[in-house]
């Protein structure tokens, strides 16, 4: 047994923080994808994560499907939920203001939470870790293999998104929609289709976050709100609308939370991240990587 020094303890907090921060970053990315195309803050984003975890439990544990099938199946199913959210809650609203649409997403999130409670009950569910739970020792700190999966998936998602938005014509069309909707429809881009796509994409990322975090922290029906708040905080912290900002914001939130819980008290773990968020808003309201110019132009 190695001696636990203060340094290894700090390393341990850092690793845990980066892991949970990766999840926040994924939630923040989900927020931003929809926000950039529509200016809507989708408060049902946390519900996508919850659904990802819970649906995966059904497919993988209850139905016994192997991981490689259950994983994509879950993502596709949650994507469908995202598409339904757009078709049933967002698109039918006549003469929508951004605020009305945001309230619609809050309603949808309450509804989804209720349905999840009816289906899965109030108990938390566990999921097998992808490659076992034998901890890996790293300079005295203990790393669960699942942590590596989480961080790895964040990297994978980041690379895929950057390829999608920078190098495919559909990704460019989506960015064009966010940039200037009038000009986008002028070159033949169907903005409604792009909004639908943004919801599907966000849902998929939420589902992935839910699937990979469940083996670490379990999953229950009402976790969506706190995940949404942390993810939203991460997006604001990084500068709402900026992809690198969302990732950085998420990692910072997670790390602060982990250090705060470890060094001060875990009872206030939610407060630390939010205090930092408030401080950023006081001193640099556009966020770490957001530009002041852009934040002035935004309606929300």
């Amino acid at each position: 047994m190695e001696k636990i020094t203060f340094a290894t303890q700090l390393l341990q907090y850092l690793i845990t923080g980066l892991t949970i921060g990766s999840i926040y970053a994924m939630v923040a990315l989900g927020f931003i994808i929809i926000y950039n195309v529509t200016e809507i803050i989708n408060f049902a984003q946390g519900e996508f994560v919850v659904l990802g975890g819970l649906v995966m439990v059904v497919f993988h544990v209850s139905a016994g499907l192997p991981l490689v099938i259950a994983f994509p199946a879950t993502v596709v199913l949650v994507m469908l939920v995202g598409i339904l959210l757009d078709r049933l809650a967002i698109r039918p609203i006549r003469k929508p203001s951004v605020l009305t649409l945001i309230i619609a997403t809050i309603a949808a999130s309450i509804l989804m939470k209720g349905v999840a409670m009816v289906i899965w009950g109030k108990d938390p569910f566990d999921l097998q870790a992808f490659s076992g739970r034998d901890p890996i020792s790293f300079f005295g700190a203990i790393i669960q293999p699942q942590y590596l999966w989480v961080i790895g998936f964040l990297i994978l998602i980041t690379i895929s998104l950057s390829i999608f938005f920078n190098s495919t014509i559909i990704g460019k069309a989506m960015r064009a929609c966010a940039d200037n909707p009038d000009a986008a429809s002028l070159v033949g881009i169907d903005t409604k289709k792009m909004i639908l796509l943004s919801f599907a994409l966000s849902a998929a990322i939420g589902a992935i976050a839910g699937i990979i975090v469940t083996p670490i922290s379990l999953m229950e029906y009402d976790r969506g709100v706190s995940l949404a708040i942390k993810g939203f905080g991460a997006a604001i912290l990084g500068g709402l609308g900026s992809f690198p900002g969302a990732i950085l914001g998420g990692l910072i939130m997670g790390t602060i939370e982990s250090f705060g819980a470890g060094l001060i008290s875990s009872a206030y773990k939610d407060a630390f991240a939010l205090i930092v968020l408030l401080a950023v808003l006081f001193f640099k309201p556009s966020g770490l990587l957001g530009s002041v110019e852009i934040s002035k132009m935004k309606r929300f």
Binding site: I169, K172, A176, D179, V187, I189, T191
Partner: protein, 267 residues
């Protein structure tokens, strides 16, 4: 009689790319356009002129589907389009630019034109999502096409610069280039030389002429009379939402109604 009518219809189809019939547009009680009837012949440059507030931009917005007209029919290549959405009309080959430049500011010059090519590639999301080599090939093809267009509008050297860093004159050219990328049959230009200096105006004018030579019909709203008289094959004059004259430049220039409403006062 019927035969004659049919013949007329066919003939008009062959000759006219755009037919506007009985179109009216009201904003609340304000009639922005009153009983508009006109045709745009294939392959020409037609200018719409008129004093400020005459309804020129409104007419563009109605034709390109940004507002549905209160009344009337608009036929493009023989098909009614007045009920279609802007993106649908654009993908049928009717493109436009805006009075105030509307580019994708956060994208590069090249990307702006590439997005313009979007309409001409019909690919499903799943196909682009999972077949990377194919995506790459398609992407390269689009890039080549976009570079050709940049060469045509003389912006090839600046392909990698952010669109909002260009001077106004080049932003206007880029907007035309993006319009061309949709491979239009009819290109509507809303004040293409407004705010440009003498040299930039000449560049834009000769570009518009080149576009006509490529067989693309051009419909033009412009205040610069020199450019209008110089470029247009046909001119239509609006005043208070109504057409007051239409014809070749010399004829319109000498029309007493036009002189009274528009050219009057000053000279």
């Amino acid at each position: 009689m019927v035969q004659e009518l049919k013949f007329q219809v066919r003939e008009s189809l062959e000759k006219n790319i755009l037919e506007v019939e009985q179109v009216a547009m009201a904003f609340g009680g304000l009639m922005a356009l009153i009983n508009q009837n006109f045709r745009v012949k294939k392959g020409i440059i037609k200018a719409i002129i008129g004093p400020n507030g005459a309804g020129k931009t409104t007419l563009f917005n109605v034709i390109t589907g940004f507002f549905p007209p209160t009344e009337g029919t608009i036929r493009f290549k023989g098909q009614a389009i007045e009920h279609l959405k802007a993106h649908d009309i654009a993908s049928r080959g009717l493109s436009r630019t805006f009075q105030t430049v509307e580019l994708f500011d956060n994208m590069t010059v090249l990307e702006n034109v590439m997005v313009g090519c979007h309409t001409r590639i019909r690919s499903s999301f799943l196909a682009t999502g999972f077949k990377l080599p194919q995506v790459k090939r398609k992407e390269n093809k689009i890039k080549e096409k976009a570079m050709d267009i940049l060469e045509f509008i003389n912006l090839k050297d600046k392909f990698n610069e952010p669109a909002d860093s260009l001077p106004l004159g080049e932003q206007k050219l880029l907007e035309i280039g993006r319009g061309l990328a949709t491979q239009p049959d009819l290109l509507c230009l809303d004040e293409p030389v407004a705010g440009l200096n003498e040299t930039e105006t000449q560049v834009a004018s000769s570009l518009i002429r080149l576009i006509r030579e490529k067989g693309i019909t051009v419909l033009l709203v412009e205040h610069d009379m020199k450019v209008v008289m110089d470029l247009s094959d046909e001119i239509m004059v609006l005043n208070y939402g109504e057409k007051i004259a239409e014809g070749p430049p010399e004829q319109v220039q000498n029309d007493p109604k036009v002189i009274e409403a528009y050219l009057g006062g000053e000279d």
